[in-house]
Symmetry: D2
């Protein structure tokens, strides 16, 4: 086999997921980053947008269309906001590029659910129905052959990985599930807003989007598809005064009798060959997965409930690391390339 | 009536609750702080222990016994660790002083429950059975006449205030309640420990004491006594990288049909005359109660659950502010004195 | 004398200095806050702008002109940006109100220096030449009679208080002074900007405005006027990942021989009767003045230099507390009213 | 040449520098980590000491003597406290191992200076006089042949790299230099102490060790040796509420006329071929070097002074990254191996 470097572009390269993606891709032995896009017309150097890359990467962000990108790239990672993403991705696909989309646009498979939660009809509804959801630990099959992969949301990643095996094996009921989740502020993006200004969220802790966050149907879809049951989840996100990390505390009603030890053993067994899921018996902390593509999970029995606690780095396993994991699968590279 | 200044002492004056108590008491118009105790024998000046008081308070911390304290104090606030507290408070009471105990020692009323959760028989079991629990919003009656008041735990305060009216009025079931709570680090005290070292908990979020935290039976006792039902709660505390504040997200199963609006109205009505409970329709944040004795509460209906979210400053309404509120009631001062 | 409540307004009530001002003024026994202004036309309730005031203050922010304000207010505090402030304050004064201006507009007394540093001619140049600079510890005389007081900048407060006595008494040279200053993020205001977004400044430390910050000429003016010497200062501000507090480390060349002890004694003596300056022999920390109107100062001799280190809460002694201190002097109230 | 894996041990593997060292070494293609030491006798698994290594590294910390280490290791990294380090390193060297010592013990070359600053005679004085100081950018020659390398202190690294070229080329005077430095809390180590407890240093900023910090003579030695002049520096360290990063703001008196542009050009030229020093014209921030072995430097002219500002990650370029850089030189590996 001839070693072929994959020429890669990033759509919307000014935010935090693009920054983390770049940090990973510059160390990926099979990748050359050729293009970074922005809507700005002044071609800013990447080091003026992300000072981390001073003398590391010599590229300019450019306002590029699909045909220009297709000349330079074999594959693009989409870091655009939802809706913006689905408005350009069809052209990217038609131009022959592979796409890993980090936006929410192709994650849901039901146009009606999308319309309900995103307040508008999906602009590319036929494609969304069959786009593969790139959470390899649950849905690896099909990623390798996909031209387009929908990269999972940050909250759905940790919640789904911790609950899916318990649901599928009938240990917990598909109703009455609570996912109480806590995220660092980088999850809110890099666009200046009052709510994520330092003096607003430092030394503060609050819930947001209670009952209305769009990751709720995404979690339910994942768990339902994987377990074959209609799963209902109450999802409550909170903002933690830290840069990165998500911890999800989930509460479920047991559906058959099992000890903490048995539940832990089930998780251990399920993920025995997964390089990025670390089942542990002690309590996980976001700091211990920060900067990594790991998802740490534990399970507890307390009174009449089963608890799972999982941690990820929201920007890595919850976004850019997972995107590279999908990319590796799509190109036949070792799944852990540039990620361990 | 002749204005009589109350001479006050603080037992165990080196920690954070003592610091906050002092900050409040130096502004209390009816109080003179006369004594601060420590086990250290070198009589440190308060400004060497708490540099905030440089040129504000000219007192030394001293290793004082009950009779010495009784000569100088009418009332003492106990900021000792549990067990240490119950070993000295009986003597304080016998010496004629009133006591507000901020430790956990007199909060539970059932010696068997105490023994189960604290791993030892209670040294003053008869007294604990009848000691009043100083959460005025739920149990104001009796505080005014008490010689000893057990000051509530930080987590139980926010959880109990948000759930109690819903339970008592039959809107939620007494079983299947989940209290997912998040606290700033000051709640862990001022004794140096690896777990609360800055580089360990900064930029990290984790659960602790899952299923084993001693505030669980305290919450259940409060809610059971107040509602007249046997209440069962799963309580999960988490550590937030911030100094102060507790947010409690509680999930309960509805017991009768009620809209969000009706539930909010019930809370509004219950606390209409309470100076320190602020029911609000928007989502509370710990920053908005920081440095105050307020407990902010809201309620939500999501799918088949009722959610309450409450915020307090763990060191004020969760400890020292509540202690002064109790003190004010015990001495017939306006309940809000030095607290608004 | 009949107790007369002063009716007070705040111009530009949406930011952090206005928030802190309100927190102080609601506890001021001689004040009634009657008006809060904004350019917004939708009359937001103060609790929607500052959720801290839910059930504490029942006022709306309004777009009010000078005559409307004059009907409701005896005195206004200006929390507008520079330039905006000087464009409305003349009308406030003509309408008979007293004004404490927290902007930079009337701090400098030389129109040429203003033009150089602010890039435009001063719109009210005659008045600026004679406006009193409200740093009572250095320039108390005249504040009581003033109709307009220019409230000092945050950095100049700490730097000036620590160096002024040493300069005036000839202990340090007026040239070669370095003021290396570090501020919490609230000093950058409440307008959303990339640079003060949480994930940008959390876990980071950086200098800004090196050699170009507008507080440099303000510091030099203060020290020159107070000492009667032409003082030159190099001022370097830095951003600290915390909400509030400024620490200033200043380095000066000795001008006569003096021990650390003698220098400390000079500071002690200078500020012996000042209620808000606390000279201390140990090293100050911003935490120990947080939430107070104190300025903590120490002095050190290291090799061939004199060092001063001072701490303030940038929003209190560096802004809103100082403003109330000036207000108290202007109205003949005890200087410490509502501030201790 | 036969590829030979170097067998490596870490002395004192429980702290933050050991943690960072391990993170780097597990990715080093020429290294096998065989031994981790501790004084504890219970052989804790590395994942119980550093939960980050769960399922990543399967090693136990052991209390090992020199001969046991020599059987397993070709090279050891010393992460012991000063004094403890010099008491075991001679035996390591005699047993034939190479040593990179991250403690302060072999950094100074003058036993009298050591005795003055460390309060005791050096236990291995002859060796310290000639031990090479492992700051490759200034003293690369000799590292390759050394059996023992003294790894630089965190503060001296950033300060020395920014000032050395200016001194050596006569642009600044060797006297009157001020180094005002700010460090994240991890620099204080992992031993629980009141001063580094989260609620003590969060939301606070303070100086410490003013005029007495042991990195002062180390900086002066570096700059004097490199420039050939007797350099005097006033060094003031401060603690920043963040995990990692050091920013050093240095002030020097010009010794010949040079513009900011010329000074920047000198730095650019000096470090043109250094892989880890990034001269930049914009202002550096610690966040932009966090997690990397880079030292970012800029220079400014303000009034009658030259300012340099440099940033490093105190745990990487200020400790463990530099140690691996030295290790690479000692073994003839590419200097950037495992560091870029």
């Amino acid at each position: 086999m001839i070693a072929m470097t994959v020429r890669v572009g990033i759509l919307g390269a000014t935010g935090y997921t693009a920054l983390e993606l770049l940090k990973i891709l510059v160390h990926h032995p099979e990748v050359e980053v050729t293009s970074l896009t922005t809507r700005q017309e002044d071609r800013p150097h990447v080091s003026s947008v992300h000072p981390q890359f001073h003398k590391v990467l010599d590229l300019h962000l450019e306002n590029l269309g699909p045909s220009e990108l297709a000349e330079r790239c074999d594959c693009v990672f989409g870091c655009l906001p939802h809706a913006a993403s689905a408005s350009v991705i069809p052209e990217m696909l038609e131009a022959g590029m592979k796409v890993v989309d980090l936006s929410a646009d192709y994650r849901l498979n039901d146009p009606a659910v999308y319309a309900q939660w995103y307040g508008a009809d999906h602009p590319d509804a036929e494609r969304m129905k069959t786009t593969i959801y790139g959470l390899p630990e649950l849905f690896r099959e099909g990623i390798a052959e996909a031209q387009l992969v929908a990269n999972p949301g940050c909250y759905p990643t940790g919640v789904s990985l911790s609950l899916a095996p318990l649901l599928k094996n009938g240990f917990i009921r598909p109703d009455g599930i609570i996912a109480d989740c806590k995220s660092g502020v980088s999850g809110a993006g890099r666009t200046p807003k009052l709510g994520t200004l330092y003096p607003e969220c430092n030394e503060s802790f609050a819930a947001y989007g209670v009952g209305t966050h769009r990751h709720m149907p995404e979690i339910e879809q994942n768990l339902s598809v994987y377990s074959g049951k209609a799963v209902s989840v109450i999802f409550t996100p909170h903002l933690v005064p830290m840069d990165r990390g998500i911890l999800s505390t989930c509460y479920a009603i047991p559906d058959k009798d099992a000890s903490e030890k048995e539940l832990l053993a089930l998780l251990e067994e399920t993920y025995a060959n997964e390089p990025f899921v670390r089942v542990r018996s002690d309590l996980p902390a976001t700091k211990h997965v920060a900067g990594t593509n790991f998802c740490d999970i534990t399970v507890r029995r307390v009174k009449d409930r089963v608890l799972t606690i999982s941690c990820i780095d929201n920007l890595i396993k919850g976004a850019s690391g997972a995107a590279v994991q999908n990319f590796n699968l799509m190109y036949g590279f070792a799944e852990t390339t540039a990620l361990l």
